[in-house]
């Protein structure tokens, strides 16, 4: 076959790869932060007593969870300008990933809310807290601490989903790798490097999130 591995090209463009990885992390972090806020609100709407809230939030979650991220991005980046909303590549990707993240995170939070013991809310009521106070001061802190393990899985998979930004030419890791591949024909080197970078980052993120989990875990 006569293919000799030569990582020199990768070394030369290592800067681009790391820039791409940084961009992935940046977009994922942004979307995860915003998505968590949306998820929190939507999760309380999902278990709300009002039917309207339940229906609306349920529709959002089921709808978004069944639509591929790529379609959402293409719609936002290529479709919305027709309706007069034009964003750059990175903002539209963050927008898409945030909407996408919100639905997944809401589902995680919903499970957590249902698992909170009923007595906790009643105790809050007994000492005269309003419904809003009970949610903010009792339920949310408990919730975040209890769903952290499930949440970190979602966070990691959202980081991986940031690779889809390559389809609208955001210069992130996958895009850079494809460019290096097509410019230098160092196929194996390029894709193995990208895979190593992705796997290593996932491990690192998982490691950090495990520490957070341990720190916030509710002592038994």
């Amino acid at each position: 076959m006569g293919y000799h591995l030569d990582y020199a090209v990768i070394w030369r463009s290592l800067h681009d790869l790391f820039y791409g990885l940084g961009l992935d992390l940046y977009m994922a972090l942004f979307s995860v932060a915003l998505g968590s806020l949306i998820g929190l609100v939507v999760a309380f709407a999902l278990v709300s007593k009002r039917k309207l809230f339940r229906v609306l939030s349920g529709a959002y979650v089921t709808f978004i969870r069944n639509i591929p991220l790529m379609i959402i991005i293409l719609f936002i980046y290529f479709g919305l300008p027709d309706a007069g909303f034009t964003f750059g590549e990175i903002p539209s990707f963050i927008f898409a990933l945030t909407i996408y993240a919100g639905a997944y995170i809401a589902e995680v939070f919903r499970g957590g809310i249902l698992a909170i013991h009923k007595g906790v809310g009643e105790a809050g009521m007994a000492i005269g807290m309003s419904n809003f106070q009970i949610i903010v001061h009792i339920k949310i802190p408990l919730l975040i601490r209890s769903v952290m393990p499930a949440l970190s899985n979602v966070y990691i998979s959202l980081f991986k989903d940031a690779s889809v930004a390559a389809v609208i030419a955001v210069p992130e890791l996958t895009f850079q790798t494809r460019r290096i591949n097509l410019e230098t024909f160092r196929t194996i080197e390029a894709w193995s490097s990208a895979s190593v970078l992705y796997v290593a980052s996932c491990f690192l993120i998982a490691f950090m999130l495990r520490r957070v989990e341990r720190r916030v875990a509710i002592p038994k």
């Binding site: 379609i71 293409l74 290529f78 479709g79 390559a166 196929t187 895979s195 992705y198």
Partner: protein, 218 residues
């Protein structure tokens, strides 16, 4: 915009049907092959000796650490360099199947390990061999338990199948891009794509719920 959306839709109906067919074909094959591979990896993960367990763990963790898109592009580009010539369709199915298998194996391990130990001991006590215990005691319970996650993975695979459009497989997404390239009805046709994917995913979810109810222990 001289022609309306429905006119354009009517003109492109066969393209869309073919796209849906390809999408379903890719997803279905990936899920079947992936489940098959994932079963073996999952078994190695649960019952293997140290060496096979290590291999299975490495496989699962590495595949789960790589984004689907990168897997697809890697398989498409790298396999041809090392002398395995797969068509775009085959490369797409292979990579989605590999992605699926890593998830299935992890899920199966969880399901098998959750079977109460007392049951395995009871099976041993009535004289079942390891193999019999696995087939008649552990597996049915594990399968029942992993069904909801398995359905989720199936939906993820259908969604992941959009990404094979990037290596030139003409499934729903690429068909829509071709249609939009002709009539510039960008919003309408991407929304239609979203609707089609939603219907596919939603029906898988509903069927899953139905099967779950059917096989539940009453």
């Amino acid at each position: 915009m001289s022609t309306g959306f429905f006119n354009e839709l009517w003109l492109s109906k066969f393209m869309i049907f073919r796209g849906i067919y390809t999408c379903l074909f890719v997803s279905f094959s990936s899920i079947v092959i992936g489940t098959f591979i994932g079963m073996f990896v999952g078994l190695a993960l649960t019952y293997g000796n140290r060496f096979t367990r290590f291999l299975a763990r490495a496989y699962t963790d590495i595949i789960r650490g790589i984004p689907v898109l990168v897997l697809i592009l890697t398989f498409y580009f790298v396999l041809s360099v090392i002398g395995i010539n797969l068509s775009a369709l085959q490369a797409g199915i292979t990579s989605l199947a590999i992605f699926c298998s890593a998830h299935i194996s992890e899920m199966l391990r969880g399901g098998l390990q959750n079977v109460p130990k007392g049951q395995i001991e009871a099976a041993k006590a009535v004289g079942l061999s390891f193999f019999q215990t696995f087939i008649f005691v552990s597996l049915p319970q594990a399968l029942r338990q992993i069904l909801p996650t398995w359905i989720n993975t199936a939906v993820e695979i259908v969604k992941g199948s959009t990404l094979v459009s990037l290596i030139g497989v003409i499934e729903i997404t690429l068909v829509m891009q071709q249609i939009i390239g002709r009539n510039f009805l960008t919003m309408q046709f991407y929304a239609l794509a979203g609707l089609i994917y939603f219907l596919i995913g939603f029906s898988i979810e509903r069927t899953g719920k139905y099967v779950e109810k059917k096989v539940a222990i009453k």
